[in-house]
Symmetry: C2
Amino acid sequence: MEAEKYRKGSFTLPGEAGYEGLTLKLAEKWGADVIRDSDGTKLSSEIVDAGYRIYSTICIIREHNAFALAHPETQQQTFLISERVLAESSTVVIPLLDGYFTEQFEVNSSEESIKYWQVYDRTTEKEIPREKWSYANGKVTVEDITPWHHYTVSFLCWRVWEEINMYNHTTNHWTSEHLRQLDPRHPLAWEYLKEWLNNWCVDNPQTNVIRLTSLFYNFVWIFGADMRCRNRFTDWASYDFTVSPAALDAFRDEYGYALSAEDFIHQGKLQVTHMPPSKAKVDYMDFIQRFVALKAKELVEIIHKHGKEAYVFYDDSWVGMEPYGKYFPTVGFDGLIKCVFSGFECRLCSGANVPVHELRFHPYLFPVGLGGLPTFMEGGHPEKDAMDYWHHVRRALMRQCVDRIGLGGYLHLTEEFPEFVDTIEQMGIEFRKLKELHEHGAPLTLPCTVTVLHSWGALRSWTLSGHFHETYMHPLIHINEALSGLPVEVRFVSFEDVRKHGIGNTDVVINAGHMGDSWSGGEAWKDDALVTELTKFVHRGGIFIGVGEPSAVKGYATLFRMADVLGVDKDLGERVCHGKWTFEEKEVDGITVCRDALAQDKQIYLTDGKACVLAAANGIPQMTIHSFGKGFGVYLSDFKVSANSTRMLLQILTLGMQNKEEIKYISDSPYVDVAYFEDERTLVAASVASEKVATKIQTDQGIIELVMEPHEMKICRL
Amino acid sequence: MEAEKYRKGSFTLPGEAGYEGLTLKLAEKWGADVIRDSDGTKLSSEIVDAGYRIYSTICIIREHNAFALAHPETQQQTFLISERVLAESSTVVIPLLDGYFTEQFEVNSSEESIKYWQVYDRTTEKEIPREKWSYANGKVTVEDITPWHHYTVSFLCWRVWEEINMYNHTTNHWTSEHLRQLDPRHPLAWEYLKEWLNNWCVDNPQTNVIRLTSLFYNFVWIFGADMRCRNRFTDWASYDFTVSPAALDAFRDEYGYALSAEDFIHQGKLQVTHMPPSKAKVDYMDFIQRFVALKAKELVEIIHKHGKEAYVFYDDSWVGMEPYGKYFPTVGFDGLIKCVFSGFECRLCSGANVPVHELRFHPYLFPVGLGGLPTFMEGGHPEKDAMDYWHHVRRALMRQCVDRIGLGGYLHLTEEFPEFVDTIEQMGIEFRKLKELHEHGAPLTLPCTVTVLHSWGALRSWTLSGHFHETYMHPLIHINEALSGLPVEVRFVSFEDVRKHGIGNTDVVINAGHMGDSWSGGEAWKDDALVTELTKFVHRGGIFIGVGEPSAVKGYATLFRMADVLGVDKDLGERVCHGKWTFEEKEVDGITVCRDALAQDKQIYLTDGKACVLAAANGIPQMTIHSFGKGFGVYLSDFKVSANSTRMLLQILTLGMQNKEEIKYISDSPYVDVAYFEDERTLVAASVASEKVATKIQTDQGIIELVMEPHEMKICRL
């Protein structure tokens, strides 16, 4: 039996009206100190009065349908682009909403909206002058144009179904009224919302913490009419749903230049977070972030006035309130709650500048989970899912802890899954033990600072945009996940940061992405000073790790701007007549190659033949180490996270450490993560293996040998 | 026993001194009417006087070592680029020839050479002013530069080993003197060469045909010092070996602008034929083509003056004399000889504007063949190689015949390979039968004209640059090989042709290549008029076949400019957040999908969901047909030539034919090619299958049923 102190506290339970007994029983079993409601649920007084602190969930812009219908002009909007229509003569008629889900969108054909519309000849990418087109009945007619070109209209429309509600309806077959959403930029809506929140606080004196889900603007989620392409577009970090004629006017007044529809539509590609932002987008994001922070601050002040605390859930309507954004600390939130599948999400939460950090674990207590797979229903294994996520998260908690954990959803669904109930109990105990250790000081870190370099820098620390399963195709999320549990310092730096301040005090720089994307950097690599700075950094002893298509940009002798440092480059066809260096795979002392992590890129070649090839596929280098001055350039054609690839990454990170004796408190098994809390002389080892693992750990007190049960966490006082 | 007329004539035999008996025996067996010498061989009088016509091989610029050593300034040159050298301070020293094979190159450090040299900062891609660098002892020292940048020198050097001789030495372990080569642009060399040729003609009255191998400038072939990268660069159609200060000066005087080293070096990538040419390259090629044609004409006139004929071998030193070039017909050659592995090479020869077309078959009578594999030595199977090539070539000969065939090399090597000797005899008989049929009129062609659209147009008809095995990575060579034996009209058109004249009268347009290469077209697709012309062409009933990355260029809404016509596009990451259309594979009547011909491209997506997917891989479309107006856009992610893929291509080509009854004289087996000679009412069927094949052929006289033995050719009078 674990000590009582590990059995209670720091746990947020989702209560459920109608299941009061269950709620209180599980609150006891899981050691909850807080009970919350969830989207679409309401706690009963038996729960509220049971002596727990109470969180109440509020999605501030939603559930005001009466107001929205009375004042439709206060609803949120977005730009959309019509289908591309071929002109078979000098006139073309373009239906605007064809292909879109008309339960989500309605054309905003008001005068202030139409002034922002644009008609484009997409064959020439030239805008058609306003006098050549007119709108009527959902269609734009364009005249006096070149036949056999394709044309589009970019237009504003109302978003008449709040997207999370729309998702829940369409996924979980909800039949309730479609909820609408208000734009806080509209003065009428804003006054209404503040008053509504004030009244809510008055009406709910028992609530201790208002859990905002989240703020105002949802990530971009565009549905299509055809079930063959229902999901037309999803970007968890795009700002397109913040737009309105009022926002555009305000931006123009402040910045002295106007944004056009094309700044958002971008030839129909939209402004994807995975691509480097334009100058206009950077400005617009700052503009929105300030607006969101100012408005959020007003809400927090209302909440505080009523003696309640304001926690914010970082998902759904979170656009503009990135926890590592410039204005986030100015809001005055009392807590940040992050739902987590992965270690990087834990680090994202634990590192944010806010008093309380809380994780909401998965699975959500819902019948179906990711991709519509069964969770709390027949065929589901929620206990297994929970443990899988926990093992990812636990590694990260060992590095940097949070203050609280919890769950969300419908509690009654757990009744059929007693193993899940036991699993959560054990998770709570492990969490509280880790938390206690962190309270006495941070764990030991290797003398190794790792800089992750991409277009967004700190703003997109740890995450790319959304969860792992949404961004798995980007090598950087794998790198971030691996890093989240490694005993190194990690910082996220933008190209702009390097331009202003140099690469700074770091041992390793990682650039991981596909050519032209935000993570590789695209045009940013046209900055000669950046290349020079990093070349010098490596020559003087640094390590540059390039993954996928690092530093790739066209226009230079090599596709990878860091090719001279890496000793490899990628040929897109220009070198088809050049001979390629032959090579033999070689082993490098201290590096255990994890081939499964790598790609089978057919276009990588050795630049000067001097890079050491650790792994090749079909005769093409996939992993190389290249001595460059006193440092190293390391190339990986891809990086897929696993215990073995994470270990390989750690070995690469410490390649440059002169004093190898400093590398201690590392298990000799890649399956066992170790954190050493020096002040307490306590070592935590945690296994991610589903089999028993015997391991040795070098410590200041000599080698410790441990036998770890599957997924076991051990705490050893040295 | 075949009729005597098929047993003799139209055959060129390589004679060999010391093997006179064998020579005359094989001349009889193979039905030769001509005996030739080969590179490095000389015929004896017993052969020369045996009553055969005599070809004598002359490589005009080679085998003048005494003159070259006396006048080293008359030798040929090239630009090279040094290695990229990192500047660790404000001075950097760059050795010029490091990494190059110094038996091939010597620095030309004359004043007129150095004025064309360039030093580049390759980090910034800016030229370093002349006053900052100096040359001495094979090295350039650059001063007052930015540290931590990489620098290169582009310089001129002499080519002191003729490349074909160099290849033969290094491949076949020749030990004779290294042959040098003269530049006909040098007046001293030119006067010498003309006089030499005149004398040669006087000294060799028995020669009927001078077989030029080929003219002046070899394709570019740069050797490296390190055996790990011996072949630094090979481009069978590059003009870099034509360069010299004199050529550059003459160009500047004529064109009014000067070419720089960088026009050739191109950041170290050189000017590859597989990439679209710059304006400067187009000008320079025209300049060289005129020069080559003028000089060649002078040589031909000398040859004619002596009552001899001048045939030119199209390989080796052929640069500037492309048979489909503007100036080729002005030279006055009497014959064109092409060595052939493939059908497309046969069409290249047979379609050229010259009196006599001759094929030199492979294998060459040499101990080793392609890639150093054994041919006429232990482990070799020359009879099998010969038949493999013949089956490719025979298809093409059925469509358009040549006048002569022959062999080259050392005849005595055949002695150990009697099966080879019999095989050649049979090939000769089949060839003469085909030739006879063609003499009575061309075979029937379907009412289908196919336009292959790329950067080079007619200049690179049929070939890309070199043989199939050198260009197999380009889908277009597979397409060309397939087309070489299909009963359709084929024309090769450049983007410039379309700009000037429109797409013209054609049924099908094919664009096949990788993004940015000559065959796809790269920047040429920024021409809106081109896109408009082809869009209209398809909408009105044409077929556009896109293979690989057709019409791909960045900067537009779609990567493929013809995406609206094709119904598919390729996503390079910008659409990672866009939903993709789901689909089911469908069959299309009359199309037999050959999946082996296709790639497994991961980035193709349906644009509007309307294209019919005939084949997918891992859920991604690889072959689609998209109705567009009255026409079709057809997408193939790749095209690898085979009997089945060739048949599939024919089915696509005829997709638009309204009157399907016109599609006749086609075998129902993809392994059997058919040509119908209407005037003779004669049908030729030839099998490429190594098994027996039963097939039916629709003719005007009803269905003919044939049973074809492996590789059999049948001639049927209807």
